[in-house]
């Protein structure tokens, strides 16, 4: 993942450079959160705003140990988990942990977004970060606050579920 839009220096971030950071990252971050929230744009944008505000508050604490994008997505992921807990967002899977289509989901119109929506949140997050956003596995593991092995398991499980969903429900 391109990390060129990193902060100019610890403690030297003005409102103008923070604005540049927001503009540089807003599209990818909002896209990521929209996928996590299964297309709830309003919730995703609220979470994105909370993420940037928390980043603004904590920017002085960013030491550059990890890439800036990983640090930013870690905040977004933690905000999403808090919102999911608060709103009791139900996972779309049966007792065996298999993905199931949401009620009213049209099989004929099933596409990648709909298939993604059937996965568990960590699987969606891992696949989105590593594939759609091109983040290296190590960075994605930092962003999702999980060991590298766990991240790889989520990716493998997510891919298997997607294969099944797309094969079973292809038009």
């Amino acid at each position: 993942m391109n990390d060129s839009a990193a902060p100019p220096g610890v403690g030297a971030v003005s409102a103008a450079s923070f604005g540049a950071l927001v503009r540089a990252h807003q599209s990818a971050l909002r896209g990521f959160l929209r996928r996590l929230t299964r297309g709830d744009h309003a919730l995703a944008d609220d979470l994105a705003q909370e993420t940037f505000l928390e980043a603004w508050r904590k920017l002085a604490q960013f030491r550059g140990d990890s890439p800036f994008a990983a640090w930013l997505y870690a905040i977004a992921w933690s905000r999403f988990l808090m919102a999911a807990r608060r709103r009791k967002l139900e996972p779309l899977e049966n007792e065996n942990g298999e993905a199931v289509l949401p009620e009213g989901g049209s099989i004929a119109k099933l596409d990648m977004e709909k298939a993604m929506a059937c996965l568990r949140a960590p699987e969606r997050a891992a696949l989105t970060l590593c594939f759609a956003l091109g983040m290296p596995h190590g960075e994605a593991a930092i962003a999702l606050a999980m060991p590298l092995g766990t991240l790889k398991s989520h990716i493998a499980r997510g891919r298997e579920k997607l294969k099944t969903l797309l094969k079973d429900h292809a038009p």
Binding site: G19, V22, Q49, W56, M112, L162
Partner: protein, 93 residues
């Protein structure tokens, strides 16, 4: 298209549409609230000290008022004023 290729498709770009401006405004408001809270906390922390010193300040004001009302104070002040005014002449002596 393979699954990996489909997964690697970049996310649909999200137009800014004032989002960045909204974030900056919210950041500014949050900063102002934080500053207000900080100064409020400082004031509350110093309040007991101010209340403790208030009687002393009141006593000092009363004392000054009493002193300035006495003829001796007026006499001393008059002498000091005269000395100050005639300072150039006194320095030439």
């Amino acid at each position: 298209m393979s699954l990996d290729e489909a997964l690697s498709e970049p996310l649909a770009p999200v137009r800014d549409d004032g989002f960045s401006v909204g974030v900056l405004l919210a950041a500014r408001h949050a900063e102002e609230r934080r500053r207000l809270l900080l100064w409020g906390a400082v004031f509350l922390a110093l309040l007991p000290l101010l209340l403790l010193l208030a009687p002393l300040a009141q006593s000092a004001v009363t004392l000054m008022a009493r002193i300035s009302a006495t003829p001796l104070f007026a006499y001393a002040a008059g002498v000091l004023m005269l000395l100050w005014a005639s300072r150039p002449r006194l320095l030439r002596l």
